[in-house]
Symmetry: C2
Amino acid sequence: MDDKWLRRILALLFLLLVFAVSNSRLTAESELSIMPLPAHAIAGTGSLPIDGGFQFISEGYTEPRLDEARSRFLVRLEQQTGILHFPPASPKQPGFIVRTSAPSAPIQELGEDESYHLEVTEHGVLLSAPNPLGILHGFQTFLQLIRTTPQGFVVDSVVIDDQPRFPWRGLMIDSGRHFMPLSVIRQTLDGMEAVKLNVFHWHLSEDQGFRIESKTYPLLQEKGSDSNYYTQDEVRGIIHYARDRGIRVIPEFDMPGHSTSWFVGYPELASGKGPYQIERKWGVFDPAMDPTRESTYAFLDAFIGEMTALFPDAYFHIGGDECNGKEWDANPRIRQFMLDHQLKDDAALQAYFTKRVQQLVTKRRKITIGWDEVLQPDTPKDVVIQSWRGQDSLAQAAHRGYRGVLSAGYYIDLNESAAQHYAVDPLEGATAKLTPEEKANILGGEATMWTEFTTPENIGSRIWPRTAAIAERLWSPEGVKNVDSMYRRLAIVSQTLTDYGFNYTATSSDMLQRMVGDADDAPLRVLASVVEPPKEYDREGLRDYDLYTPLNRMVDAVPPESDRAREFRRIASRVAAGTASPDEENQAREWLTTWRDNDAILQPTLSRSSLTAELIPVSRGLAQTATIGLAALDAIEQRKPLGTAEKQQFMSTLKLLEAPQAVLLDMVVPGVEALVGAAHP
Amino acid sequence: MDDKWLRRILALLFLLLVFAVSNSRLTAESELSIMPLPAHAIAGTGSLPIDGGFQFISEGYTEPRLDEARSRFLVRLEQQTGILHFPPASPKQPGFIVRTSAPSAPIQELGEDESYHLEVTEHGVLLSAPNPLGILHGFQTFLQLIRTTPQGFVVDSVVIDDQPRFPWRGLMIDSGRHFMPLSVIRQTLDGMEAVKLNVFHWHLSEDQGFRIESKTYPLLQEKGSDSNYYTQDEVRGIIHYARDRGIRVIPEFDMPGHSTSWFVGYPELASGKGPYQIERKWGVFDPAMDPTRESTYAFLDAFIGEMTALFPDAYFHIGGDECNGKEWDANPRIRQFMLDHQLKDDAALQAYFTKRVQQLVTKRRKITIGWDEVLQPDTPKDVVIQSWRGQDSLAQAAHRGYRGVLSAGYYIDLNESAAQHYAVDPLEGATAKLTPEEKANILGGEATMWTEFTTPENIGSRIWPRTAAIAERLWSPEGVKNVDSMYRRLAIVSQTLTDYGFNYTATSSDMLQRMVGDADDAPLRVLASVVEPPKEYDREGLRDYDLYTPLNRMVDAVPPESDRAREFRRIASRVAAGTASPDEENQAREWLTTWRDNDAILQPTLSRSSLTAELIPVSRGLAQTATIGLAALDAIEQRKPLGTAEKQQFMSTLKLLEAPQAVLLDMVVPGVEALVGAAHP
């Protein structure tokens, strides 16, 4: 073959490659409607109709967990399509080959291969993976690929090769502050499976409650839980349930602080005099374990022995956060101990405690994980740091050789937007500057669901759908970060979760209906659709809350993020920039009119229920905001100009309307501020 | 004391009595918002705030079932109010005295005393009953009494003395045609408890499936169930669950017809040649047990022995309906048997069979219940007749001394309105003419949920809330029959059930969302809010359905009865009669305008999903109906007269619009017909 031919062939191959890349390679953000987006996807032609079951063919390794997964897959398929019955073993059914090379570890391990290969053609499906973990993920991907079309439900032909970016993709639930029944835990695990999270971190002890049965020290649950705790059998059930879904379970026993509930039954563990009561308030409290007595470690040795035997995972979380040291400082015996042992401050004393506890964990062949505070100068190198402080803290740890998990930025209890969480990357800022070897110490991240303001009723709307955005951050390639695409797909995933029976949107509706009693709830929903709970820790400052405060107000019913208000802000900023379409301007006007007029309809009903009376100023405020918005729109559209004084007046009114009312933020204000800002006199 | 004084005192007492009756006696229909309404209720003054738990005081007899009921009561209280935590044993908590005189029967019996006395004052609650059954009912009444007020949740002071009108208040679920998972059964039992139904009739075998594990004849479930059956342990669990809620469980094994699924594993039981397959179509089929062979009775003897041991209730249902006799007629051996035994026709042969089976049931000390067909000239007097035929059939049976239960009129699978079911009384028509002794044979009634067109997904919206209206018919005094009051209270009870987690309204929404895929579902909801499934057995004639037909269309998503359309009909009839208020006229105009304009918004999306394409003419039809309605309204309001020809044209168009489209009825048509009828040219 001469050069010319070779060059021609090369040119042809190049063209084919360009064609393949430009036409077939899915610019995943624009095409697939799934979450998290896969690492690689190539679109094919045609699509597979989903109108019956599949002829499943198992190849290679198999185990009962795979059969369970297949049954669950079929149930989900039914829930998503409403197609209930498939003719048995009909040759019309397309083949669904599940090819598994080998078993996964008997106890799921950090860093196991979770990759899978999924091929869908017009005629069938091939799902293959090195081990069952990938198969589990592949089933979830397939379910999300189902689309509604004029020809029925289909999955478009596609080849996906997928694996996670980070090996530790977690969600923590705080069962300590508000106890969460098993049904909530199971539903959460179902949702985690759907978005490929693989670590369930179970916060099991708090000042407000000790939530697991100890057979060694039964007074822990008997006196420390208000009878709200998980039995060991129930815990074993959850561990099994999680394993079936490719999820590890890591228990956390927070110490030496956040431990009041331990001391109700065992006051001798504490540094203060006692007696102790279960804490009923929220915050950081003084009670702390006594790090100076050998009896403390003897107790913890037996306790950790019991719990490490119950939880098979290799990691064991000992908390370590927010110990204020006040009980230590107030105890002369402890002060003397510090002098004797040259422990210069409370941090040093806590480091001593952590080291002792960590040795107890190591003795059980487990690896310790703890919050930032456990990291001290001589912390053993295998301790994993979970950071609520941020990437700087994590980078320092990684630089020193410690592995870490990011939680700062993933605190889903703080009512921030999905976009805010989505923007947080474990490898940005300080961690981005690490060497590749140091970067490998960053294992991933964990969303944290603290439950001061969360009940079994509303926890669904606190976790979902925003946690799916965090799951994508931790699974998908670093470059996947288009926020519009994320929101578009988030809405679809949210609907899919609803198909699976996680009725968190319905629960919000039910809560609103409860607030108005027998009255029509439509006007209340109009208000509810554009307000949000306060952000970060603002709520604590607005009212006195404790364990007994009913969480049945609007702030508890509405989702942390208002889709309607976000959409209004987007349109308002386009109107302000002069880039809005006529349809968008009309939409803005229509919404503003609805919000302005809603108050007159809603007001008469608000005073009829004690749960809605506080909303009187909120509803009036929304009408004010919308009135200003309409005036600004008129000015922009040059129907009616806006005087300078009037504009200033509007701006200062809006400033006032930014403040929370009835523990709620009016989220229309920012969009209206943009409109007023753009309304030239 | 002279006469004059006596007369004065008597007059005073009389006045007091009149005062008491006119002021305090609740005209229950106007005041209490509960369902079923109680037999007697007297309003007090003031109300009990519900803002914490209660100090429960148990008096008299107690048992674990009462503790369970109290825990469940507290969970419901939490779900209804969103008040999650109550300070433990606070003296602020009002007392809640539960006073039980004696145990109920070890196995719940027909006709046990279910009465209770409930006193609520500003300071506390007294709930007393002769046995735990009344306590269970009283808890449910209390929960329904909770109201939303400006002062918080309260229960108004009241004294209620309540007991049921009929001792047999049932709901049947057909697990044969569509298998219903345990979660559905448990939720149904929860709902039954809430509305004081006390018999769960479990239809466990059908042509399409044999749904319970038999250890004696395992091929019944192994070959006859597509693996969808209840294990005996699960059944025991359900029986226990039902007993905890004051509900008896009566199994039905339908024979000699409706029994194809038995013959897949045991063809020797059948009258035909076989082999048999599980039936996949709907209807009445030929396969029937062979009543002529002794081996049939030997089989049934062992089977009935097994099942009567499993189900503790004194009653055992043997079906008996719709045996068409074709397999008998086609079998020469059976024809010969009939000649030999002087059995003149198939009915006589079935009577012979029933008698033999009934003896097997009696042998186990159980009482037989069967559908109308089991009643023959020599049927033993303790057999109970469940009538799908109606009061005439029931009256004849009662007159002959048989006890009976009415189901005709309570077929909730036929998509009739709550008002239609509510109007049906076991003691009206032929039964009303019975002697008091004969009337005592009418035990009550049973709603029947046949499941040709019902899946685990939509069964909730088929049962609830209409079954609550039937429950009231069977519990409340005969005179309680105001339909407006019923609908008002039904809406409230429906909301309460939703508070308890029966998300049947949410499920309907989810199904609509699924139909449109990612598109906005609001316009589809407008259409969905005014259409209904066809009534009675019309659906079967409109399309070919079988077990494999997906039930994921609009007809499956919408409730059997449209609240919005009913309200429109009410207003339209007032407009037509000239008695409507201006607000009502405006409301009618607003709705009609929405319905007219919805088509233009909805049409573009309908063709995008295979599940909605069929709705194109339905949506167009609604627009037509509404356009005519607006023209009629204009004519009535004398804005624009209506010509005679135009009126006739409208009427004939409306006649066409009455016909089902896409298996749906446009329920706006009747109201518009009323408007056109009233629009004088």
